[in-house]
């Protein structure tokens, strides 16, 4: 349970150090005629620290975009409080908030040039013309758009438009930058390049980034911390490693990465018994004899030949290889346990490194389970 507690951000009460502090925020949208109102965000509590790259991750309709839009001021919370650096902003219009947004479709002004687009926010704040010129020049350099100042957004590629959108927001030096799936419209190669670039840029400018995405890989790659949401609720908040290695619920385990979900019975606080009778060491705080779900990542399991494995049968499941898929950098196996009703199927992934033994379909194997690699889910 000690590991699990780090997965939940500690409740910080009344501090003003958080970049964004969301407390008890609920957003209900009116339903159709006579229908119940739709709860998009349900009693959300969230603290986002200064200088963090924070991601809101979840499937579409999970409330992540609504949350971001409430921070930006495009939606007002039905209940609760939103503070930006200690200042209550819940009901302020967007133009009165010290945040800027990079929109999903960029929302560049089509009738203005790149430079005019970027200068817009500064002009609206009545910044002196000379300063506008200097700051726009600097930010154009930052996003590497030199020489394209006088183009219209339509004349730019998707990646360049993305940079303009970023520059247009960053030039205002917001306290918090909100990004609503900004890479969604780009192709894979460009998206991966932009992921690195965004992360680098965030470290350089030191601004808190709040990043909404449904792409779990993106969230894991870029974030300092991330929150997984579903049905308007926060399921887990933590560092990418924590979320990946110690998912708290079935949804989080399943949504992020590939995972094996196995039914087991609790032996004691340190071990459970799987359906095939094998004992596995997993820290847990469940009552003895209760049924739980254990999650383990395919790459954390090892495969050995039964006959060459002389270790104890603790932390091991005997089975037969059902399927092998060659992935280039790795091999994916499906192994069915020899005992149990129903027989458990395990997915195992082994790196294609020298010295790693390859197995064929039908081979009798022992699945090795390193202590601490599995976690007991709450549901």
């Amino acid at each position: 349970m000690t590991e699990l507690s780090t997965a939940i951000s500690p409740p910080v009460a009344g501090t003003t150090t958080s970049a964004v502090s969301i407390r008890g925020v609920t957003k209900r949208f009116p339903g159709g005629k006579g229908a119940e109102p739709v709860v998009a965000v349900d009693a959300l509590d969230l603290e986002i620290e200064d200088g963090e790259f924070f991601s809101l991750l979840g499937p579409s309709g999970c409330g992540k975009t609504t949350t971001l839009r409430m921070i930006g001021g495009f939606e007002y919370p039905t209940a609760g409080s939103i503070q930006i650096f200690g200042e209550e902003v819940g009901l302020l219009p967007p133009n009165k908030r010290p945040v800027n947004t990079v929109f999903q479709s960029y929302a560049l002004f089509p009738h203005m040039t790149v430079a005019q687009n970027i200068a817009f926010g500064l002009e609206m704040q009545d910044v002196a013309a000379a300063e506008i010129k200097e700051r726009v020049g600097n930010v154009i350099e930052l996003v590497q758009l030199e020489g394209r100042e006088n183009r219209k957004p339509k004349q730019l590629s998707g990646g360049q438009q993305q940079r303009v959108a970023l520059a247009r927001a960053l030039v205002n030096r917001p306290k918090v930058l909100l990004l609503d799936e900004p890479l969604g419209a780009l192709d894979l190669k460009l998206r991966q390049a932009m992921q690195l670039e965004l992360k680098e840029m965030q470290e350089r400018v030191g601004i808190t980034f709040i990043y909404v995405t449904h792409d779990q890989e993106e969230a894991l790659t870029m974030s300092d911390r991330l929150a997984v949401m579903d049905h308007g609720e926060l399921l887990q908040v933590g560092a990418p490693e924590t979320i990946y290695d110690k998912p708290r619920t079935r949804f989080v385990a399943d949504f992020i990465g590939d995972t094996n979900l196995l039914t087991a019975t609790v032996i004691d606080g340190r071990a459970v018994r799987l359906s095939d009778g094998s004992a596995i060491r997993v820290e847990n705080d469940r009552p003895v004899g209760s049924t739980v779900t254990v999650a383990v990542r395919p790459e954390k399991l090892g495969l050995r030949r039964v006959e060459s494995d002389r270790d104890l049968t603790l932390d091991a499941i005997d089975g037969h290889v059902e399927r092998v898929t060659f992935l280039g950098n790795a091999l994916a196996y499906e192994v069915t346990a020899d005992a149990g009703d129903p027989r458990a199927t395990l997915r195992i992934r082994q790196g294609n490194a020298p010295g790693v033994e390859h197995f064929g379909v039908g081979d009798a194997v022992r699945v090795r389970w390193a202590p601490g690699s599995a976690t007991v889910l709450e549901d």
Binding site: G72, G73, F74, P93, P94, N95, V99, N100, T101, F103, Q104, S105, A107, L108, F109, P110, H111, F120, G121, M124, Q125, R168, A169, N172
Partner: protein, 290 residues
């Protein structure tokens, strides 16, 4: 090898022929139809234009080429008075209805409020109800309003340019709203959010982002309003007062006493004015496309 040869060599012309031959006949028929429609529409205009240069008081008989009727037209105080009234009414009603219609279009497209659906439906009514009905409605309204104004404030309101302008504003608002709204519907709402996000107040966001982007729609609506106002006869003739006739109403009155070359000349003038409006609107929409 031989199979490939017959496929690419002999096969192609055959298939092209079998598809193309019947289409050619249909194409000819369609082209013929287009020309007939074209002639049907434009021959009367040609006749009108030619006869306006006819140096003969009897319209049907050619008496040589002359600019006489145009000279008479510009010298005719009635025609010029009616033209002045027309331009005045068209100017006022275009400006006012464009402003109000644009506001109506924006309110329907961008805001949500009580009674919006009813307002939405009712706004389009003037577009679909017959001119005569509209005219009678407006006349009844003015009768009642004038009675009330007289009884309450002792104001002696009269029919004239004022009532005509109000009536034209009333029916033009709907047309402007429809055109502006169509343009707004194609505009990404996030642009306005982006403007607000970049510290623009509502008014600044409208001025700097929304208005420039819907400008072609607003211009289109204004041109439509101008055109509709310039050639309205039915409604104007109901709500016009003595001495406040517009050009189309004046021409309509003249025709009842027989078609004269003067009427032809006035009609050509109006025709040229309309064509110029169409030209302007085409230029506007082309600029918008760029």
């Amino acid at each position: 090898m031989s199979v490939v040869d017959t496929g690419s060599g002999a096969g192609e012309p055959v298939s092209e022929d079998s598809v193309a031959r019947p289409r050619r006949a249909v194409e000819r028929l369609l082209a013929g139809n287009a020309w007939m429609v074209f002639a049907f529409l434009y021959l009367p205009i040609l006749v009108l234009a030619v006869l306006s240069f006819n140096d003969n008081r009897v319209v049907g008989i050619w008496g040589g080429f002359t600019f006489r009727w145009y000279g008479e037209m510009f010298a005719d105080r009635n025609v010029m008075g009616a033209l002045r009234n027309s331009l005045y009414v068209a100017g006022i009603s275009t400006v006012v209805s464009t402003a109000l219609g644009t506001a109506a279009g924006i309110s329907l497209e961008r805001f949500r409020y009580r009674g919006q659906r009813a307002y939405d439906g009712l706004l389009y009514l003037p577009v679909i109800i017959p001119d005569v009905t509209m005219a009678v409605m407006l006349l009844l309204f003015f009768v009642q309003a004038f009675d009330l104004a007289g009884a309450l404030f002792g104001i002696d309101a009269r029919y004239g340019i004022g009532t005509i302008s109000l009536s034209h504003i009333a029916f033009n608002i709907s047309f402007v709203a429809v055109v502006v709204r169509a343009r707004l519907a194609g505009l990404d709402g996030r642009l306005e959010e982006a403007a607000a996000d970049l510290y623009a107040s509502r008014w600044k966001a409208f001025r700097k982002v929304t208005l420039p982007l819907i400008a072609p729609g607003v211009a289109g609506g204004a041109l439509l309003a101008l055109t509709l106002s310039l050639d309205d006869v039915v409604i104007t003739s109901f709500v016009a007062g003595p001495g406040s006739t517009t050009l189309p109403v004046y021409v309509f009155g003249l025709v009842r006493r027989g078609v004269t070359p003067l009427i032809n000349a006035v009609s050509v003038l109006m025709l040229v004015a309309s064509m110029m409006l169409v030209l302007v609107s085409l230029l506007v929409s082309r600029r918008q496309g760029e």
